[in-house]
Symmetry: C2
């Protein structure tokens, strides 16, 4: 019912004026919230990141990077974006703003990049560039996944900065190359850690090891599309898609093996198990997992003052059920899970961010993709 | 559909012969299980405990203690059971078998006991007695909750033995006396630790403290009806009913305050919060909690060989939804929750035990109360 009301009222409002959006009020365990669609004019948005100005940078999978304001206005595509392989799950993916943006104007984008040699393969790449009013300049590819591989699936590719300034890039196993997640001579199924200029930190766990790529931070991942830094421990947390069930939260530590594909909690749709190996010697158990899958996208630790009862909680956005899973944490431990917004948002949620205003923002994976603002209800 | 099938088939089978029960097969994430009702002739059973012989002792709330065999046969009421206040939530409650039963033949029962002075109050009491073929003899009341209080609600009262031989008794706040859970001069809302003869261990946390009852182990509980000892740490784990939401698992430590009623995750049925105080200085956060409530009854750590993928998991039985919540643990941490048997068992589950055979047994809170056996499906 809420779903219908929301759809109708948003559609009506947007037909008149994209900036005078309708709001729907939804109850949750601890906060009544107001959900507003600020625009539905985004074309399959994938990643977003706030600029210090309060404006958003938003990627669209087809290759456009846009400035989006909270009044719902959307810029023309920025110039200087590299060409991307917009096919299946590939395209222009995440965008991150440098922690020192005010000084250096750097932004970072991840995308599926064709083989520069003209081969049929592709891989996740990351470019750093200087943001101008209308585009990107001085673009430099600071990471290029290896090998180039012919697949349209499992690119990863969230970008998050650690407190020490290192950049984590989360990657996928490229699906048919899943076994590569267990070997270190490739970037498939890895989390990578580099300096923002693309150089390799000397304290990365596999630096100087034979047959290991030095960018690798952790391995044995499937398709890591969510990442966030814990606000008090400063540690990287990631969330990855399981095969059919077994979506996992991990707290990837240097050099550790997170098990895919030799250990998984995935189960088949008929309830029969994919593997009886949930524990394999030498691999790390997930910190938390979902069966069935909720199809996790990105996640944030909420640290704002607008939703006091959610402070410190982990909010995990999901494609399936258009939900955000709220994990109530005590230290690192999950005490409780609540499903938020499931009845209120009709589209798959692709990214979640906390605004500088303390509100929560979602973008949805749709040709009429929305930017959604979550505020406390009056 | 499964529900209907099971109800029909069990009813049919029992009409013919209580001992030739029907089995229903149910899929879960990691095991296909076979669910068999061994009898439906128990009258509101509350607690059960296996004897070394493989036979069960089962309490019925109205005051009967019976021997029950796995062929479904049920003895006449055993003699020597004290009179109980069988009113509202009160009655004959849990039963435990002494860890050294083979040597001493001791069993323990908890029950709501009237005021021996003839007052209107009652409280949870625990009797130790010697089990004979047909009854209890040499009954001795080893614990008597104080004060006697006029209420029909929240008696607690699971009985579990620690590896060191101490007996834990879990209690309730008697509902209208909830504030007592925060003071130490009474047994309301407490977990109690005594020796099996009723004496107080000298290392109990409040021994020798003014205005504190020396039996108290932990406080600030609401209504603790489930308890189990962790198989590797040897620590007590408990589960308690929340008010409306906020059912909690705790790992009660000596002298600690678990918050009720000053801190709770309960929420009202309309989604408004009961208290904004989920964290109060000096109280311990739950280890895990449920909103909405599942109405937790008892729980076990599964340690058998019949369900290998469940070894080490915490199985929490619930009145609501007739479910068993399986909590997949890594160390003490909950990694995942699965709801088991929800579609297959139609009655409220009051107690859960692991048999000496490694199968799982449930009893249901009904006038046609069942004893249910869970085995791996062929
Ligand atoms: Ca894993
Ligand atoms: Ca508590």
């Amino acid at each position: 019912m809420l779903r219908t009301l929301l759809a109708v009222s948003i559609t009506a409002a947007l037909a008149l004026n994209a900036s005078s959006a309708a709001a729907e009020t939804v109850s949750t365990e601890r906060h009544k919230v107001s959900i507003t669609s600020l625009t539905n004019k985004l074309d399959k948005p994938w990643g977003m990141s706030f600029l210090p100005s309060g404006e958003l940078l938003v990627t669209e999978k087809s290759g456009a990077l846009r400035r989006v304001k909270l009044d719902g206005s959307i810029s023309v595509p920025l110039t200087g974006v590299p060409s991307v392989v917009n096919k299946s799950q590939g395209g222009l993916l995440d965008v991150a703003v440098d922690p020192n943006f005010a000084d250096n104007n750097y932004v970072y984008i991840s995308y599926s990049e064709a083989d520069p040699q003209g081969g049929e393969g592709n891989s996740t790449a990351v470019m750093r560039a200087t943001l101008t009013d209308t585009g990107l300049t001085n673009g430099k590819v600071i990471f290029r996944g290896a090998p180039k591989y012919k697949s349209g699936a499992h690119f990863g590719s969230r970008l998050v900065f650690a407190p020490d300034g290192h950049l984590f890039i989360t990657l996928g196993d490229r699906y048919s190359a899943m076994d590569d997640a267990q070997t270190l001579d490739n970037h498939h199924g890895k989390v990578v850690r580099i300096k923002p200029d693309g150089s390799v930190p000397s304290d990365n766990p596999f630096v100087g090891k034979d047959d290991a790529l030095p960018e690798i931070w952790s391995y044995g991942h499937r398709n890591v599309q969510g990442a966030a830094i814990h606000p008090t421990t400063g540690k990287l947390w990631t969330v990855e898609h399981g095969p059919k069930g077994g979506d996992e939260i991990n707290i990837p530590e240097a050099g550790k093996n997170y098990g895919w594909p030799i250990a998984t909690y995935g189960v088949d749709y008929d309830g029969s198990i994919i593997s009886d190996k949930t524990h394999v010697e030498g691999t790390i158990q997930p910190h938390y997992y979902w069966v069935p899958s909720i199809a996790t996208s990105n996640m944030i630790f909420y640290t704002g003052d607008k939703f006091p009862a959610w402070q410190g909680d982990l909010l995990v956005a999901a494609l399936k059920g258009s939900q955000v899973a709220r994990l109530d944490l005590e230290g690192d431990r999950v005490m409780h899970e609540e499903t938020l917004f499931e009845q209120a948002v009709e589209q798959r949620i692709r990214d979640i961010e906390q605004g500088p205003d303390g509100y929560i923002y979602l973008i949805t994976d749709d040709r009429a993709g929305q930017l959604i603002q979550i505020k406390p209800a009056e």
